[in-house]
């Protein structure tokens, strides 16, 4: 019995210890659970706060944003509402796509330019926006809900600025061309005045001759028979003088020369006007034209200045480059600008080295299937290395009187055709080259 009692006490104590251990363990587990749930709560709170923060951020940004998952538009910010004129919050993605005429994708690489048409009081207003898609979860499984943020930026002003700059550059090009043309025509017409003044002096000379011959006739009619020998002698002298004067008038090379000069002047003015008419339109249409003859046309527009600078123009043209399909007028303006810059660079160098012989090389070379390179190289004053890239920037110029539009305009033009334009120079008084690579044909 005692043994049994001892045995029982032993078991009870064992049970108590076990119970105590289990109670401790339970307490431990409860404590851990409590701690974990607190952590969870805190994490949850943090997440909620973070979410709220992001939402607030989206709401306050001046860029239009819309948050959506595969099915529904979750949130729209005020910027979006004011840009698109409506808020699709809560609507289905499919309905929103239809209403906005805009795809709601989740691809991060996807960028699209989109036009928003709004009816204003007097006319339809068009706003151009650049739309980008940002998926908020990088790796998502097919069945999980994933959200995308669509960001739309109003780029109308940027486009307008580009257009304004391009037009200003075009106008500057025209102004430069007009200046050259005015100079030419002004000189030609003034020269023609000179020719006319000279020709104008001939009729009075003929009149004097007529007067002299009439006088001789009058004198011989009034002469007495006895004076016959003397009269004949004098008449002979007068006739000899008349022949001399007439042959002098006829033979005066200058008379014919002046008439030729007048004719040439009129012809030259006509030519200049025609070239100007062709080149002055802001016509950026792609046309099919012969590249070497375009170069000829361009050179003839500034021929007189090239001659005055006594510059040797060397053409090294690839015979394979004939017909091209490009915007012709901007092309003329660009080449003209290169040549003009080269002439001025030569002029600049001449100020220091009087005996320097100016030279401009125009080189073309077909490169690959549908591409060619045009190089306009001079041996003028050169470009400092730190300015090689700057010269293409709007408003930048190397010259005291330059506008800085010319090369900027050329750079814009080349960029619009997906071409390349760069300058090369070994520095001061080492000459410079403008190199442009363009497609031979661009789609119309």
């Amino acid at each position: 019995m005692r043994n049994t009692l001892e045995e029982l006490e032993k078991q009870i104590s064992l049970l108590e210890r076990r119970f105590s251990r289990e109670r401790d363990a339970r307490k431990e587990a409860e404590k851990l659970l409590e701690q974990k749930s607190l952590e969870l709560y805190e994490t949850n709170q943090l997440l909620r706060m973070e979410n709220l923060r992001i939402m607030k951020l989206i709401q306050s940004l001046p860029v239009a944003m819309v948050l959506y998952d595969q099915k529904t538009v979750i949130a729209v910010n005020p910027s979006f509402e004011s840009l698109f004129g409506e808020s699709p919050e809560g609507r289905s993605v499919a309905e929103t796509e239809a209403r906005l005429g805009l795809e709601m994708r989740d691809h991060p690489e996807y960028r699209v330019q989109h036009e928003i048409h709004k009816q204003g009081e007097t006319h339809e207003e068009v706003t151009t926006v650049l739309v980008q898609y940002v998926p908020l979860i990088e790796h998502h499984t097919a069945d999980a809900v994933h959200e995308t943020l669509m960001v739309a930026m109003d780029i109308s002003d940027r486009i307008k600025n580009d257009e304004v700059q391009q037009y200003a550059a075009f106008q500057a090009g025209i102004a430069e061309m007009s200046a050259s043309i005015l100079h030419n025509i002004g000189n030609i017409v003034t020269g023609m005045h000179g020719s006319l003044m000279h020709l104008g002096r001939i009729p009075p000379q003929i009149k004097r001759l007529e007067k002299g011959v009439s006088k001789a006739l009058e004198q011989s009619q009034q002469a007495e028979d006895t004076d016959l020998v003397a009269t004949n002698q004098r008449n002979e002298q007068v006739m000899q003088a008349t022949v001399k004067i007439l042959s002098g008038l006829r033979g005066e090379e200058k008379m014919v020369q002046y008439i030729d000069k007048l004719e040439l002047g009129i012809h030259h003015i006509g030519e200049i006007i025609q070239l100007q008419q062709k080149a002055a339109r802001p016509d950026t249409h792609i046309t099919s034209f012969n590249f070497p003859s375009m170069l000829n046309d361009t050179l003839s527009l500034i021929q007189d200045r090239i001659e005055k600078y006594n510059i040797e123009v060397v053409r090294d043209l690839d015979p394979k480059l004939q017909k091209v399909e490009l915007p012709r007028n901007p092309m003329i303006q660009m080449v003209m600008n290169f040549i003009k810059n080269s002439m001025e660079a030569v002029g600049e160098r001449l100020l220091e080295e009087y005996s320097h012989q100016g030279k401009i090389e125009i080189i073309t070379a077909v490169v690959g299937e549908n591409s060619f390179k045009l190089t306009v190289r001079d041996n003028g004053c050169g470009i400092y290395p730190d300015r090689l890239e700057k010269i293409f920037v709007f408003g930048e110029t190397n010259k005291e009187q330059g506008s800085g539009y010319g090369l900027h305009s050329a750079a814009n033009f080349v960029r619009s055709l997906n071409g390349k334009l760069y300058a090369e120079s070994d520095g001061e008084n080492s000459g410079a080259a403008m190199i442009v690579q363009l497609p031979i044909r661009v789609d119309r």
Partner: protein
């Protein structure tokens, strides 16, 4: 008339890079005519001499003493020589675009350094400078004539610019 004849003939410096414009100045200011014309004049004189009559039309006398130059630096050199000779120019007619080398305005500034009172007329088809820029650089005693110009316009403008004690043409 006698009093007028005592006046000194105005001395002009003309700078233009275009030979056609030189011809124009020669004609417009009755400078020197070419040898063919001079010979023709002698022949006509001879004819009237035979007839013992006066030649009804005498060649117009030069309007002024004029020197023609092609370039700015050349003009500065000539002007300097004239200053040294004690016969400085009274008026300069300058084209604005006279490449290569310095342009019309630079030439004008150089001439003014030699002759601060020099009268200047720019004769140009296109000026690379705005009026304010010219005003700032030259201050006064300059004017602008736009090509194309005619004989009368040129004569009037020169005559207007020159002081009355200098003789220009027959006036």
């Amino acid at each position: 008339m006698e009093v007028l004849n005592q006046h000194r003939l105005a001395r002009l410096l003309i700078v233009d890079d275009d030979p056609r414009i030189h011809d124009f100045y020669r004609e417009a200011l009755s400078l020197s005519h070419n040898s063919d014309e001079a010979e023709l004049e002698v022949d006509i004189d001879e004819m009237f001499a035979i007839l013992e009559e006066d030649n009804p039309l005498q060649e117009e006398a030069a309007y002024c003493d004029a020197t023609l130059a092609n370039q700015g630096l050349e003009a500065l050199r000539i002007s300097n020589e004239m200053v040294e000779k004690g016969a400085p120019f009274d008026l300069a007619l300058l084209d604005m675009r006279i490449p290569p080398g310095i342009d019309g305005l630079e030439t004008a500034k150089g001439l003014r350094k030699q002759l601060p009172q020099l009268l200047i007329i720019f004769v140009t088809a296109y000026s690379d400078y705005r009026d304010e820029q010219l005003m700032e650089q030259l201050e006064q005693n300059y004017s602008m004539l736009h090509k194309p110009i005619g004989q009368q316009q040129l004569r009037d403008e020169i005559s207007k610019a020159l002081p009355s004690e200098l003789q220009f043409g027959n006036a």
